[in-house]
Amino acid sequence: MVSPTISTENLTRRFGDLVAVEDVNLRVAPGQFFGFLGPNGAGKSTTIKMLTGLLAPTAGRIQILGLDLASKMVEVKRQIGVVPEGMALFGRLTGSEYLNFVGRMYGLDRETAAKRTAELLDFMQLTDQPKALVTDYSHGMQKKLALAAAVIHGPRVLFLDEPFEGVDAIAAGTLKTMLQRMIARGATVFLTSHVLEIVERLCTHVGIIHRGRLVAQGSLEELRAGVEARSAGLPGAVTGASPGEKLTLEQIFLLIVGGSRSDGQELSWLG
């Protein structure tokens, strides 16, 4: 049996009285494109922060590439790439200065860092404003730069928190191409996203977190089978699918987290 690239045991995080993440047991195998889904405030970002060492867990264990994150933090960080929620950019550097800086922080020598910087800027189509500061980049350009920084050292595992948020179709296409290439070369990608269509198209495996608890985990087919088994006999109006039609990820997600909104709610003053 292949040991998982990412595994957690009873991962828990509390903020005072609020339990943001509770007893999460994740298993992500090598080479998987893993989508981590959940409604707003479910605990996605908190989990990804704990997996990347940005936040300390209150309880539980994390292993990345077979290494214990708490005791081997630097070794783990050397082999992972991260695009966190705030993108972790330094606004008053130019794009090339930033990538150069990140490369050297990951231990690349000066020449290699410069060479990879040039290649990444070219691949991400960030070369037409070489002297612009990162703070003057558009949101999409910043996202592309953050992703370029996360991969400059050739990580074996990539953690991405909402990589497609605020990104146009062209930029999203570039990001998807890069991620698929990484997967093809054996890397593991763990991403959170609200855009379920993208997750459905890209990810081989999915985990769904709801109110801090991992409520589903597996391949898309496994999740679909599980949900269909549970909702057998229910009318199509409840599942949202026509008879004989496969459930989409969005339908699976809504059935698992039980998302509903009263149509009776009205904001009359909106006109």
Partner: protein
């Protein structure tokens, strides 16, 4: 839309009340944390210190005003108003640690009328410590005049109130224009050239004074009279003339008419400053963008990327952080401005009197005091290491680099900046005063060897425990937390005191090896303490990572 309860022209008063309430809520919410309560305590402490300074100054200046007016020497009133004027305008620039500016983008996203925006920007200025202290001083002068000549009191009050308004508007106007000029590289360079020309112009003071120094007393008096007439058309001179005119008028005559012309001219200054401030704020209100974006250009093939810096003997990540820090600093006009203030102060003190000005009695102190002042001005950098990094701080926690190395890179960058500053102060001392003796130079450098490592170690700790996000590119928003500022002053006080004791001890020994030992032993201890603290930074940073990232990730 009216039917929906939305007024098409929101009332300015409502908006001002909403902004005031917002500030109050932010303040009240900040008290939920220990850091917030500590910050409040620091504000109260600093507030009390400023009130004490304000009241003390008010009593002193009030007494002086009473004496001057009752002795019928009204022409000396100008010499009381000039310090108030200079303090009001220079203190916010000199002590950026106590100055904070409003972020206009926070206000402009609301449907704010220009009038409301203007008033809010002006109101922020009236909460400045310099405004509060200088207003107390003016009140003291007013009371002093009133006690000496009760009949003049109403007129003096009107004049001094106008003078205060002129100062307030001028200070806001200078701040707004400095912010504008420092925002872009070209205007920043122009300002730099003007500043150095200004510094060089002080070179003329020495020869000028030397010419008059050996002349007979009447000629020196002529110089005094020339200076007196030169200051008369300026705001403090006009305010003084307006009051003096009323004081000198014959009893029974209209006292106001005598001082009316200078008073009107003072008002004209106010209008001009107001117009200049309005000019600047209107540009901001219209959504002026001062970013230095450059045009797009099509590129064929891979872009040419220069490898990062190389400092032999230092690990790559340390050099990378060092390079990043210096690049950041070179792009922050306000920070660069802060760093040249010591030279400015040397020039100002040089012009304050004969020979070495304020340093006439202890010329050898110029260099060590200049170096100490340079260290104080580094507070916003070295005691809030991650302030300018904002969300970038997350990267440091995600990267496989020990925090000790990150801190070392930052400390080396700040040491380099401080080294350049000390060199500039030394050159400034040589040019404006006289070259410091070798003994004083060596003692100062040895003192730095003792003070700097401990100061940097303390700065690293405060950077982790009490971080505060700053906007490096905007004037007046580079301040560390007030608690940190106060703590840094206390630490520096102890360190400077220790250095003074060392200096005193070394003077007592006649043997040079003993002097060397007295300086170098504490320096060696300080370096060991720095290394010890640096080795413990990793654990501390990890324990405080959430506070660091949340404090630096959000805008204030």
């Amino acid at each position: 839309m009216q039917g929906n309860g939305l007024s098409l022209a929101p009332h300015a008063r409502q908006q001002l009340a909403a902004v005031a309430e917002l500030r109050w809520r932010i303040f009240a919410n900040s008290l939920r944390t220990f850091r917030g309560r500590l910050e409040l305590a620091s504000h109260i402490f600093v507030g009390l210190a400023f009130v004490a300074g304000g009241l003390g100054g008010a009593v002193g200046l009030g007494g002086a005003a009473w004496f001057v007016v009752s002795q019928r020497n009204e022409e000396w009133l100008g010499s009381l108003l000039w310090p108030v004027f200079l303090f009001w305008q220079l203190f916010p620039l000199m002590a950026t640690a106590f100055t904070q500016n409003v972020e206009s983008s926070n206000l402009l996203r609301f449907p704010l009328s220009y009038r409301s925006y203007f008033l809010i920007r002006l109101a922020y200025g009236s909460l400045d410590p310099a405004t509060a202290v200088a207003s107390l001083w003016l009140l003291g002068i007013d009371i002093g005049i009133g006690v000496a000549r009760p009949a003049v009191f109403p007129w003096a009050t009107i004049v001094l109130l106008t003078f205060a308004l002129v100062n307030l508007v001028l200070a806001r106007m200078l701040f707004a224009w400095l912010e504008r000029w420092l925002a872009q590289r070209r205007t920043r360079e122009l300002m730099g050239i003007l500043f150095f020309l200004f510094i060089l112009s002080f070179q003329l003071i020495g020869p000028l004074i030397a010419v008059y120094e050996h002349r007979s007393i009447p000629e020196t008096r002529i110089l005094g009279q020339e200076l007196s007439s030169a200051q008369r058309p300026l705001p403090p001179g006009l305010a003084a003339a307006a009051i003096a005119g009323a004081v000198q008028s014959q009893p029974g005559s209209q006292i106001v008419t005598a001082g009316l012309l200078p008073f009107l001219l003072l008002g004209c200054y106010g209008i001009v400053f107001l117009w200049l401030l309005n000019f600047r704020l209107r540009a901001e209100y219209r959504g002026e963008n001062l970013s230095e974006s450059v045009g797009r250009k099509a590129l064929i093939g891979l872009p040419a990327v220069r490898p990062g810096w190389n400092l032999p003997g230092l690990p790559g990540p340390v050099v990378a952080v060092f390079e990043k820090e210096l690049r950041y600093l070179s792009r922050s006009g306000p920070m660069l401005f802060t760093l040249i203030v010591p030279l400015f102060m040397l020039a100002v003190f040089r012009s304050s009197g004969k020979n070495e000005g304020l340093f006439a009695h202890a010329p050898q102190l110029t260099f060590p005091l200049g170096a100490a002042y340079s260290l104080l001005l580094l507070t916003n950098l070295s005691y809030n290491n991650f302030g300018a990094d904002g969300n970038g701080t997350q990267f440091f926690f995600a990267s496989p680099v020990r925090f000790g190395q990150i801190m070392l890179g930052k400390n080396l960058a700040h040491t380099a900046v401080f080294g350049i500053e000390v060199l500039l102060v030394w050159l400034g001392t040589c040019l404006l005063y006289r070259p410091p003796s070798i003994g004083v130079t060596l003692a100062t450098l040895a003192g730095i060897l003792f003070v700097l490592p401990i100061d940097l170690a303390a700065g690293n700790l405060f950077s982790i425990y009490s971080p505060s996000r700053i906007e490096a590119g905007v004037f007046g928003r580079q301040r560390a937390s007030l608690t940190t500022v106060l703590a840094s002053f206390a630490i520096r006080g102890a360190l400077f005191g220790g250095s003074a004791v060392m200096l005193w001890l070394s003077r007592g020994y006649r043997k040079s090896w003993m002097e060397l030992l007295i300086f170098l032993l504490p320096a060696a201890f300080a370096i060991v303490a720095y290394v010890f603290a640096l080795n413990r930074v990793d654990g501390m940073a990890l324990r405080h990572r959430e506070n660091l990232m949340s404090s630096l990730g959000r805008r204030q």
